[in-house]
């Protein structure tokens, strides 16, 4: 019983550590280096931020399938406006700030729109956000004419994702200091804020109550609908932030492919992290580690040179083992 409880609580972390140790042992020197570890964080920060928001939605017994499409749409809106600002002669740094605001606001507003459809339109979350999955990308493609939009000026934009904290003692093998870029810090900061929000604030506890027993929450005078509505706004905002990171990384957004399948990845990370799809039970740190675990698997598949055909089997297998480790009674 005790052991089981232990695994249930810490399974995802144990799985992560096991996979990491495996990688470190089999890959030896090439794996246990700062750049690899830092990269794991850099590469997954955007998806990780979306997963943080998704955790709230799922704890409130909802789901959001539209995140990937929304990422593309808010990226497109951000980029189109950025280019427009630049074209109209706005100073680059001002244009960057405007563009970021546009991404966040569009994410938030569209997320709240999802929430409104679900709460006041009384449409099941799966259906409402499936509509979003179809419609948001389509809108993005219509705005971008189906293509990739490149930033007409890239330096200012790329500051966000490509610069950050460096320390002279943490270097790669060419002795160039490694950048702990802003996305890492944004991700960690948001994880802390969201963890605090979930565990220490009334909003967080009410999210749990709504997901665990909606009727009881209603009988306790909790504004159930408002809470649900807000969780969708939260994930929308997260998507907006993630789209800033995405756009900043590559100074471009592809209306057709940006964020494709992200809903699955984000939900998978949340669930692997120990949050129940039935709502009511969940945790932020679990999602954080879940994202890292999925990222680690991807890295391992590349560095261990697994045949491209077999990668799905290996990835699925590791997820299965992680799930087995932390299964309930």
């Amino acid at each position: 019983m005790k052991a089981q409880r232990f695994f249930q609580d810490w399974g995802v972390l144990i799985a992560f550590i096991l996979v990491f140790l495996y990688a470190a042992i089999t890959q030896g020197g090439s794996f246990l280096q700062w750049p690899v570890i830092v990269q794991l964080f850099t590469q997954n920060a955007d998806k990780g931020i979306v997963a943080l928001g998704m955790t709230f939605v799922i704890i409130a017994a909802g789901i959001d399938l539209s995140v990937g499409s929304l990422l593309a749409l808010s990226g497109v809106l951000m980029m189109l406006n950025f280019n427009k600002f630049i074209a109209s002669g706005t100073p680059e740094n001002v244009a960057v700030i405007y563009a970021c605001l546009i991404a966040m606001v569009s994410g938030l507003v569209i997320g709240l729109f999802n929430g409104a459809v679900i709460v006041w339109g009384k449409i099941a979350p799966f259906v409402a956000t499936l509509v979003g999955l179809l419609a948001f990308r389509s809108l993005g493609q219509a705005f971008a004419e189906g293509g990739t939009i490149n930033a007409t000026k890239t330096e200012g934009l790329q500051v966000i994702a490509n610069t950050g904290f460096e320390h002279s003692s943490i270097v790669n093998r060419n002795d160039i200091p490694i950048t702990f870029s802003w996305p890492i810090w944004i991700w960690i900061a948001l994880a802390l804020v969201f963890g605090f929000l979930l565990n220490r604030t009334q909003f967080g506890r009410h999210v749990i109550a709504v997901g665990s027993n909606e009727k009881a929450a209603r009988y306790s005078g909790i504004p159930v609908q408002k809470i649900k509505f807000l969780t969708y706004g939260l994930v929308g905002l997260c998507v907006g932030i993630a789209s800033i990171i995405q756009v900043s990384k590559l100074a471009s957004v592809a209306s057709g492919s940006t964020g494709l399948f992200w809903e699955l990845d984000a939900i998978a990370a949340v669930v692997i992290g120990g949050t129940s799809l039935n709502g009511g039970r969940g945790r932020i740190w679990g999602t954080f580690v879940g994202v890292l675990l999925l990222g680690l698997i991807s890295t391992l598949l590349v560095t261990a040179d697994v045949s491209v055909y077999w990668q799905g089997v290996v990835k699925g297998g590791i997820i299965l083992v992680a799930a087995l480790l932390q299964r309930g009674k």
Partner: protein
């Protein structure tokens, strides 16, 4: 002046008029009892007064001013809270969080867990609940959850506390503690509205008692002057004869059910027990004494080991094997494990019995109609979902579901919880009829008069162990309580 009053409240559901022009007034510093048959509309009225449901017509006044509740929150803001008949708590939050759900103490916008736990502990002490504030609510047994629900209502400092059958899942000591608490609240000037089917409880603790019948107010009596017979007559509209049927052939049959050396999860010493054909045997004990655990292990719902025989034939492990041998268990928690609330009544009554690999719809329907008559259920249509029934009628559906399987040995866990006096009588006589037909019945009950009135023999459990067996004249409230509480041994 009345702190809360309702004026010609009417509420209709598809097919039923739950309330039909009910007017009542409630005063501060008084305990008002409300009684009525199952389905009379008691819970509906309370839900309307606490903002859960809204009336079709009529008005609610608080301290003379007319109000309109759009949500529970509105009612709370007017100082009205309700303890629901069916528990409404969040399993994934702690006990303290449940108590303060929606009005958590905060410091700088952040929940002040320290203060919350401390206040919760006070409230838990007040309701004599042994749970710890930090425990996850889902880990608590039913009775303790009920106490948490009461503590939650007290946390609001309300003017009016509505309690819908709070004692149904409590055993004696906790019930006593609750009434002491009610007396104390009354002293503090709180208005208490109390629903119960246990009439003497109300007579002893209320100031006045209002009676509802078929959604209408039929009258109100002063608790000091009234008698149980009078109340029952007002409720049912006719005189009730003695509730407990006479025994005809008390336990003269052969040994039907024999358990020896049986161990189950958490048990302190192996259990032996037996039931003869035609016998009704009680298992008494305090809440948390392990009666439910024993029963669930006996029928194969939980781990257990030892010899279990029906008519001398060993029963295999597992629920299905038990059912094949005629061993059935009627769960105490009809909402979670007893019934499929969203499914039609007629489905529920045939779910355990089965109706052939290819369903015989007619047989299913007729079976439901049959049991509806036999247990006198108040049902609009057997095709309606169980959730549309009042609590007591749900309990009857749960019974019917198992009686329909033609069992040999019936284990009933709190069979009359939440059932009105009239219906109780019907259930009792049905039980007796079955026993007379040669069934053995093992009844777990916290209702001592029921145990005394019905049982030929009584086992008493304490702390997950069998501590005694009483039969015939030995069965009395005192002897049972002595064994159950471990005094005088």
């Amino acid at each position: 002046m009345s702190v809360l009053s309702v004026n010609s409240i009417t509420k209709r559901y598809p097919g039923v008029t739950a309330l039909d022009g009910v007017s009542l007034a409630f005063a501060a510093g008084r305990v008002h009892g409300i009684i009525g048959e199952n389905g009379a509309g008691k819970s509906t009225l309370m839900k309307i007064m606490s903002g859960v449901e809204s009336q079709d017509s009529g008005e609610i006044s608080v301290e003379g001013a007319s109000v309109r509740f759009r949500s529970v929150h509105d009612a709370m803001a007017h100082g009205i809270v309700m303890i629901h008949q069916e528990l409404n708590l969040v399993n994934d939050l702690s006990v303290a969080e449940n108590i303060f759900l929606g009005h958590e103490p905060r410091k700088f916008g952040v929940i002040d867990f320290k203060a919350m736990n401390a206040k919760a502990q006070e409230l838990l002490d007040r309701v004599s609940c042994k749970a710890s504030p930090k425990q996850l609510l889902g880990d608590l047994p039913l009775a303790q959850k009920q106490l948490v629900e009461i503590a939650k209502a007290l946390s609001h400092q309300s003017k009016v506390v509505i309690m819908d059958e709070p004692t149904a899942v409590l055993s004696d000591p906790e019930t006593q503690a609750l009434f002491r608490l009610i007396a104390q609240l009354k002293q503090e000037g709180v208005c208490i509205i109390l629903i119960s089917h246990i009439l003497h409880e109300l007579l002893e603790n209320c100031d006045d008692i209002a009676v509802l019948r078929d959604g209408q107010f039929v009258g109100s009596v002063d608790a000091i002057e009234a008698s149980e017979q009078q109340l029952a007559a007002m409720m049912v509209g006719r005189e009730l004869s003695d509730m407990f049927p006479a025994r005809v052939s008390a336990g003269t049959g052969n040994e039907l059910f024999k358990v020896s050396g049986f161990q189950f999860f958490g048990c302190q010493s192996p259990v032996d027990l037996n039931v003869k054909a035609g016998e009704i045997v009680g298992i008494a004990g305090l809440v948390g004494s392990g009666r439910t655990e024993l029963a669930e292990a006996l029928v194969g719902l939980a781990q257990g080991s030892g010899s279990v025989e029906v008519e001398g034939v060993p029963v295999g492990r597992g629920l299905q094997a038990g059912m094949r041998a005629g061993l059935v268990y009627v769960s105490e928690d009809r909402k979670e494990s007893g019934l499929h609330l969203d499914l039609p009544i007629e489905w529920n009554t045939s779910l355990a019995k089965g109706a052939g690999a290819i369903l015989d719809k007619r047989a299913i329907h007729e079976r439901a109609e049959d049991w509806r008559k036999r247990l006198n259920m108040k049902i609009a249509d057997v095709r309606d979902p169980v959730s549309s029934l009042s609590g007591g009628n749900q309990q009857k559906v749960s019974l019917a579901k198992w009686l329909a399987t033609d069992p040999k040995l019936l284990i009933l866990d709190e069979p009359t919880r939440g059932v009105d006096v009239g219906a109780k009588g019907e259930i009792y006589s049905e039980m007796r009829k079955l026993a007379d037909q040669g069934l053995g019945i093992l009844m777990i009950s916290s209702d001592l008069p029921e145990v005394i009135g019905m049982c030929d023999r009584v086992y008493v459990m304490r702390d997950f162990a069998m501590v005694g067996e009483l039969s015939g004249e030995e069965i009395s409230e005192e002897s049972i309580m002595n064994l159950a509480a471990g005094v005088g041994v």
